[in-house]
Each structure stands twice: as structure tokens, then as C-alpha cells.
């Protein structure tokens, strides 16, 4: 069985700080990290490798050259081999063009039974690349997967965590699977893993290597265009009640909710 995990490098959002004067994000010196929600995809692939015989795992990331760092993170967790998909020509790609580029990389690496992704990246927060890739590969897709129940040579049975309950679904292989956080608890890499990751050779695929259609990659190949970006104020100038007895504080809250037509 061959498993690919698609991962992304994102700004380290848990280190995002807000300027209290302006209420906007401080963008200087943002560190980057492996998308936290991708860790669950990596972990699940590693667990399948431990559970079944003859499982080969690869991690693929599209991004700038320093995105190799997050590929090393995945290798330190137990992924066998990593590949970087990187080319200036890929810059500005939206989810459609990204999925096309990843499809070309997957095709180049041969056949896979399962392609894992995280639920979404914590920067773009679209969650669209997985389904878009599935459509372009003509693979079935299972999203919001919270448990893998069974895998045979031909199919996989999973639990999906959706509004109002859990759905048990079967799909034929090959399949694209996006996992949610509740599927596992990622382990912390051990020293051997870290050493392996440090030494790992991570090949880079350029647009030429992938024989990518220039009209389908990067900004030019993207159907969408970002036309405006702004940094909204997240702060609100609210009423804050301090040093009051609870009784009157609650009365004021009730009045406030009435004013807002909530009660």
C-alpha cells in the first residue's frame, strides 16, 4: 500500500500577536510551522504504516524552498520520504491551480492507494485543495474523517464527523481522505526520527519536472483573483463592568440583551 500525505507550511498562528492599539495582526517576524491540522494526517499515515505490512509513505508539500522544513517535520514523525514541489511559476496559485500542480506531482510519483490531507490549513482556511485534487484525479473523496475502521485491498471504511452525528462510509481505493483533529493524537518525534529527518534527501519538482501546463499553474492558471486585502479591527469598544455586585451586573447584562433584541 502506498500512502501520500499532502502538507503545507503556514505562519505559526499560535504565535500571532495583536496590536492592542489598532486591533490588527502584527505581521513582523512571523515564524512558520507545519500546518497544525496536517499533523493529524501525517500521524494517521504513520499509524497505518505501523499497523499494516508493506506500507510506503511519502509527504508532498508545495511551497517555497524553505518549506522543506515542514517536510522534515513529517519525516521526523515517521514518513519515509518527502518531496517538495517548488517553482516561482507556481506562485500565486489558488486552490484550483494548487490542486492541479499537486495532481501532476502525484502522477509523477506513481500510484497511491490513499492520499491524506488535513481538514484545512490554518492560514488560508479553505479546505478546498483536497476535494479539488480528488475531482482532478477522479478519485472518490471522504472528508471530515474521524476514524479509520477497516482497510482491505479494495476498500476502506471510515467514520466521518459531520453536523449532528457520525457517518460510517465505505469507499473503494484509491481515495482522497481529509482528516479532522479527533482522529488521533500526534506523537512527539524521537531522536532517531529527528536525525533521519535532518539527513533526508528531499528532491524538488519544478514545473518542468512535472511537465505542467503553463496555463494551469500559478497566478495565471488560477480562476480566482484577490482584488483587495485589508486588516480588520478585531477589537470592540464594549461596556465592561468591573467592581459591581453580581446582582446588579447581571441586571445590566439582562438589559443589554433586551436592547439587542436577544431576549
Amino acid at each position: 500500500m502506498r500512502i501520500a500525505v499532502l502538507i503545507k507550511q503556514v505562519p505559526a498562528t499560535d504565535k500571532v500577536k495583536i496590536n492592542k492599539e489598532t486591533g490588527t495582526m502584527i505581521r513582523e517576524n512571523l515564524e512558520s510551522e507545519l500546518n497544525p491540522l496536517d499533523m493529524y494526517a501525517v500521524e494517521e499515515a504513520v499509524r497505518l504504516k505501523e499497523k499494516y505490512n508493506n506500507v510506503k509513505t511519502v509527504a508532498i508539500s508545495m511551497g517555497p524552498p524553505f518549506a522543506k522544513d515542514v517536510i522534515r517535520d513529517a519525516i521526523s514523525m515517521g514518513i519515509d520520504k518527502g518531496y517538495l514541489v517548488s517553482d516561482r511559476k507556481f506562485g500565486g496559485a489558488d486552490t484550483w491551480a494548487t490542486a492541479y500542480t499537486l495532481k501532476k506531482a502525484i502522477n509523477k510519483l506513481g500510484e497511491f492507494d490513499i492520499i491524506f490531507t488535513g481538514e484545512r490549513a490554518t492560514d488560508g482556511e479553505t479546505g478546498q485543495v483536497g476535494p479539488s485534487l480528488a475531482a482532478q484525479l477522479n478519485f472518490p473523496i471522504l472528508t471530515y474523517v474521524s476514524k479509520i475502521i477497516e482497510i482491505t485491498d479494495e476498500h476502506i471504511v471510515v467514520e466521518r464527523s459531520i453536523e449532528g452525528g457520525k457517518e460510517i462510509v465505505l469507499s473503494k481505493l484509491p481515495v482522497v481522505i481529509s482528516v479532522v483533529k479527533e482522529i488521533n493524537e500526534p506523537h512527539i518525534p524521537n531522536l532517531a526520527g529527528k536525525i533521519k529527518a535532518k539527513k533526508a534527501d528531499i528532491p524538488t519538482f519544478t514545473s518542468k519536472d512535472l511537465n505542467a501546463d503553463p496555463s494551469k499553474i500559478g497566478l495565471l492558471g488560477s480562476p480566482t483573483r484577490v482584488v483587495n486585502v485589508y486588516y480588520p479591527k478585531m477589537t470592540r469598544k464594549g461596556i465592561i463592568i468591573k467592581s459591581k455586585d453580581p446582582e446588579s451586573a447581571v441586571s445590566e447584562l439582562i438589559n443589554f440583551l433586551k436592547e439587542k433584541n436577544i431576549i
Partner: protein, 338 residues
């Protein structure tokens, strides 16, 4: 690759029938779609896939749909991404809508990227604003990114349809009008469209959460300040009085006080209710990312410097174990007197 834009006309919304019930997000979508249809001076169409749909189609018309495209088949009674994709891609090819929007539910966020890829067009996820650009007539899709720290406006200039998912609860449903008239168009497809590699085996309903937290009008959320999982009982009681849902910070979920499906924030759910109450939640940036688009935010916290107060419309600095029981009693009285 851009294909002819000519001939693409009309605004479509994707209605959602879930476990036999037409989901209210369908009506919110009508609110979104009706504004766009009016500005483009075109009819608003709803697409409805499922089983036993006559009543639901009539309902959509009462709420504001001019046309309802109905595909009624037992094989559509649950969301099968492959079959839904085949049908929607075919419908788009036949009918050529200019704009197609869905709710950013687990179904919407799965089916829309599949469809957009298949028909080779753009898609914008989880929008909180949609408008029509006056000069060009293009759909302006505005969405938050990086936890709401950045807002981006996105266009799909050359490809059709222009597609977007919109955040649930970010618009109120319209008032229904019993006398409203519209057209119901039944569509039939060949057997080929129904062939699939995916099969649902079962569905286990959640016993705890009646209303998914993303779809609740009122969310009562608790954090570390609650000190014990048992104290979430108070939140459930309050949520019950409001007919709302209970949310939680990551800290509370990590303690095992409440399941992950209730987690609000960057690695949990993003919500946009009319009222969000943060109780004993300090307001880490990642938490705020999941609730900052709420209409009204109320915080109760004993730490006057807690970050949550910066994003609150109303805050009480104090001991939640004193304040909350009093508040619950008063709300009980309010509910009774109504």
C-alpha cells in the same frame, strides 16, 4: 482555458436536506442569493437534491426562490459526493448559472470544490460578504483568512459560474410568504450519473448536541475558568433556555470536559451566532479566530486584563460561579414571562 462567459445567467443556491429535513441554511442562502439576483436583475434558483422533495421545493419558493430544480431519487437521500458531483456538474452544463453559492457546511465545503474543479471554475470558501461590482457585474467574494486577521476580496473574472460558500449564520433567513409563486422543474438523469465508489453504511445521531454549534443562534461557550467538566452542566442549562448550543475553548476540550465537536477556534469550528457568551475563556488569539464574527459578544471572566474583553460588546469582570447562577435564574424568569 477560460471558457465563454456568454450565456451564463442567473443566481443559484444549493439547498441542503439532511437526514430527511430541509436544513435552515437553505433559507439563509435564499437571503444571500436574493440580494445578488436583485442586483443582477435575474431569477433566483434553488437546487434541491434528495428524496421526497415536493413539500421542500414548495417551502423554498415561499422563502423566495423563483425556480427550484429538483432531483428526486432515493439514492440522493444522503450526501454522496460522487453522485452529487455528477448531477450538479450536469445541471450546470445544461442550465449555465452565472453565480452558484452553497453554505460552508461539511457538505458545502466538500461538494463545491469538487464541482468547481470538474467544471473548471474558481471557488471562494467560507465568505462573510458577497456583493456585485457595479461596473463589471462581477461577484465580489469577501472572506476572512488567518483567523480573521486578514480579510480578502476575491473575484472570478473569466470563469463561470462564479462560485462561493458562505459561512452559516452570517445572514438571517427571509420571512416566508405563503402566497409566493414559483416554478418547480424536475430533472432526470441517466443511470450512469448514479454509479459510485462510495456507500454510506450507517449514520449515528449525536445524542449530546441537538443543534450543531455552527448552526446555533446562540452559543454559550466555556473555558478553563469553569474548573471542572461538571460545571458545563450550567452552560447546557443556559443553552437549553436560549435554544442554543454549547461551545468550548481548546483548553476545555483538551481537559476532556467536552467533546472536540464543541471546540471553537482556529483548530475547531468557526461560528457566527447572534449571541456568543464566553464564560471563563481568556480569549487566546486562536479562540477569537473562531468567534470574532459573532453579532454580539458577551464575556464573563475574573481577570480584568483577559484578552476576551477586547473583543466583547459587554463584559463582566467577576466570579463566574456567582454570576452564572444568578444569570440563569433571571433568564428562566424571562423565558417564563414570554
Amino acid at each position: 482555458m477560460p471558457k465563454e462567459k456568454e450565456g451564463y445567467k442567473g443566481v443559484w443556491i444549493l439547498s441542503e436536506k439532511r437526514e430527511g429535513v430541509l436544513n435552515p441554511v437553505s433559507f439563509e442562502l435564499i437571503s444571500w442569493g436574493a440580494e445578488l439576483a436583485k442586483k443582477r436583475n435575474v431569477p433566483l434558483s434553488a437546487v434541491l437534491l434528495g428524496e421526497d422533495l415536493q413539500k421542500d421545493a414548495e417551502e423554498l419558493i415561499k422563502y423566495g426562490a423563483d425556480i427550484v430544480y429538483v432531483v428526486d431519487d432515493p439514492r440522493l437521500s444522503y450526501f454522496n459526493p460522487e453522485i452529487y458531483l455528477n448531477i450538479l456538474a450536469n445541471l450546470i452544463k445544461d442550465e449555465k448559472p452565472e453565480i452558484f453559492i452553497a453554505s460552508a457546511t461539511t457538505m458545502g465545503r466538500t461538494i463545491m470544490p469538487l464541482v468547481a474543479s470538474k467544471v473548471e471554475t474558481g471557488l471562494t470558501a467560507d465568505c462573510t460578504g458577497l456583493d456585485i461590482e457595479e461596473e463589471t457585474g462581477l461577484l465580489l467574494q469577501t472572506r476572512p483568512a488567518i483567523g480573521g486577521n486578514v480579510m480578502a476580496t476575491i473575484k472570478t473574472p473569466e470563469h463561470r459560474p462564479q462560485m462561493a460558500t458562505v459561512r452559516p449564520k452570517s445572514k438571517k433567513p427571509p420571512m416566508p410568504n405563503e402566497k409566493r409563486k414559483g416554478k418547480i422543474i424536475e430533472k432526470n438523469f441517466s443511470e450512469k450519473v448514479f454509479s459510485t465508489r462510495i456507500k454510506r453504511i450507517s449514520f449515528q445521531k449525536d445524542e449530546t448536541s441537538e443543534i450543531p454549534v455552527q448552526e446555533a443562534d446562540i452559543v454559550i461557550a466555556g473555558g478553563k475558568g469553569l474548573k471542572d467538566g461538571k460545571n458545563f452542566d450550567m452552560l447546557y442549562q443556559l443553552a437549553g433556555l436560549f435554544n442554543g448550543a454549547v461551545g468550548a475553548s481548546r483548553a476545555a476540550v483538551d481537559m476532556g470536559w467536552i467533546p472536540y465537536s464543541h471546540q471553537i477556534g482556529l483548530s475547531g469550528k468557526t461560528v457566527s451566532p447572534r449571541l456568543y457568551m464566553a464564560i471563563g475563556i481568556s480569549g487566546a488569539v486562536q479562540h477569537i479566530a473562531g468567534m470574532s464574527s459573532s453579532d454580539v459578544i458577551v464575556a464573563i471572566n475574573k481577570d480584568p486584563d483577559a484578552n476576551i474583553f477586547h473583543v466583547s460588546d459587554f463584559g463582566i469582570v467577576g466570579d463566574l460561579f456567582e454570576i452564572l447562577p444568578l444569570f440563569i435564574e433571571k433568564i428562566k424568569k424571562e423565558v417564563k414571562s414570554q
